[in-house]
Amino acid sequence: MTAETGDVLSGLKIGEKARVAGFDLPPEHRQRLLEMGLTVGAEFEVVRFAPMGDPIDIKVRGYHLSLRKKEASGVRVTRL
């Protein structure tokens, strides 16, 4: 995992904005994220973490989507 370097979704901090760069996820999961609008190039913002630190709430395409750190660590991003 490259969470420390901050180039995956789970490594972002609250308020940070980024763009999806790619996925390291099984095809089915990748497809579901894509369908929810998290396509390569889509911009999003990390809004908050749940009280126990997981899942992560992000704002993408104008709505709020939560996903677990496990999957979020498979979403490569470029910070904006």
Binding site: R30, Q31, R32, E35, V47, R48, D54, R61, G62, S66
Partner: protein
Amino acid sequence: MAGPAPAPDAPTREVTRHVAIAGNPNCGKSTIFNALTGLRQKVGNYPGVTVEKKTGRFFGSHGEPMELLDLPGSYSLQVRSPDEAVARDVLLGRLPGVPRPDVIICVVDASNLERNLYLVAQMLELHIPVVVALNMVDVAEKNGVVIDLMALREKLCVPVIPMVGTAGVGFIELRQAVSRSPLPAPTICAQMPIVLERETMALAKQLPVAPEVARGEALLLLTLHDEALDALAHHDRTIIDLTRSTQQRLTASGIDPLSAPVDARYAWIGQVCAAALHKGAGHDSASLSDQLDGWLTHRVWGWIAFLGIMALMFFCIFTVAQYPMDWIDGATAVLADFVKAKMPDTDLRGLLTDGVIAGVGGVVVFLPQILVLFFFLGILEDTGYMARAAFIMDRLMSKVGLHGKSFIPMLSSLACAIPGIMATRTIENRKDRLVTILVAPLMSCSARWQVYAVMIAVLLPSGSAWLKAGIILGMYLLGLVTALLMAWLFKKKLLKGETPMLLLEMPPYRVPSFKSIALRMWERAGLFLRRAGTVILALSILLWALATYPKPANADATPAEALAHSAAGRMGHAIEPLIAPLGYDWKIGIGLIGSFAAREVFVSTMSIVYNVESNDQDTAPLRDTMLGEKRADGRPVFTPLVCLGLMVFYVLAMQCISTVAIVRRETNSWFWPLFQIAYMTGLAWIGAFIVYQGGRLLGFQ
């Protein structure tokens, strides 16, 4: 359903059009469905899946009757489980008994247009006329979103009707749009990359379906991942192999068949939005929602709010619902007394009072509680708090392999498993939903109270209130821990496979609509009474007959003797070897059998067995009799270990026919409720065995 003499505008007139309504979760689809059909709704199941099939009748702009089919709310037509295949199969017209819709109403949340258009993009590929119901324009407007209708219509090339579902705005235009004749099929859809398009068309030519749907079908096939492709039932191997080789060719040429169509659709949506969606001035009411979330999902305040809301819910369930429950109890008693006074003492009277009235009354008495729970669940759902509860609880639930959405159904089951099980409908994943349904009845519901209360009185006739409370709390914890353990086990062993990922949409907070909550309460309560009612009635009669026949030869036998002589009494004897290791005698066996349909009946059955006049308020006479009960060798029957074991038994055993009926309905199969009875009864036996034998090994009585 054709009426005998087709009178104009009569609701029985043959339907002229089959309309399907689809949309993302939370877009207001149910609101529009309900407003169109009113109470002219029918709820059933599709064969073989757990998805509910809801249809309703409505009238076009010239009074022509149309049938409206509610498709399950989903974000896409992509199929990942048999349940999700329903929408696709309906739209492709290959679900037996369900005609292919003539037109789809695609409900779209205007305040969340971009993502909502994804489903529209998929619909447009199916070559069925589409009418876009652009709902929640009021919210969009408040958020400062300006939607250029002309541009949107031009880009989509289908009718777009701006609507406010909750305020009745746009329904006339919607009716007009679906009544239009002829309805043009969509002409525009997202353009795929050239290589993909070519391969799609090549595959489409091979498909045994009508040429106009072939492209859409081919695209849906190509985007299936391996497992789903294998599970495909509608096509023979050659088609599946063909799809697979096409997928491989695409991958080789650098196009990922699973993601390329999605990207293409979103690219097209980007163009549509660029032309039709403008961010105008105006304050973002979504930011208010954000601020609220700052508190309600805060790491300290979030928990406090969460606990407060749950506590309030349970407080209301147990206080507010108590009054009507007492009334129903009273009315049942009055009715039974009335029948007793008016009828001669015959078997028929017994059937009516002890079978029908007592049996059905015993279930109806829980209706107020169920309704209050539905009311709260409705508020939680409609305000959007349900998603927050799932967000907060997800981490904890993930430890047993479930996700946050399973929490509220399980919690509701602390009052009654029936609304809890019905609330699992918000869990999209079939396996998660099934596991939640399977373990929900392990949570100690309020009907168990009556058993706990009697047994604790026998166990500790003079114990301190604190000790009693502690033991009852222990029973609740036992139920909870077992439920979580079993959930973990089921996820691990029974329904294994890849754990689905959590994708939770957090809709903005909304003011709930009491009308829609009331409608849903009405619908679910009706469902419960109808589905459970028949089963309960039948079983109450059966159990009454078991406890009555055959009759003792001696006419003036006491009720206790008569019961011992009856089939139930004999069954009590018959199962004695089975329950002897738990320390139970045949009389307790009768209690177990008698309370099979409803656990709280244990108390009244034991009263009959021991020949005591008892009522719910005062358990003292029953307690004293039970305490004095001796075995043949003079040892007391109800030793502390037996009492504790019985309580554990009732924590873990299913013993509720209403739940069986609801599980049967919600899983659309008899297998799961029967499995549930088996595993819970097994657990109950093991639990009681461990308490009794383990306790004896440790030297307790």
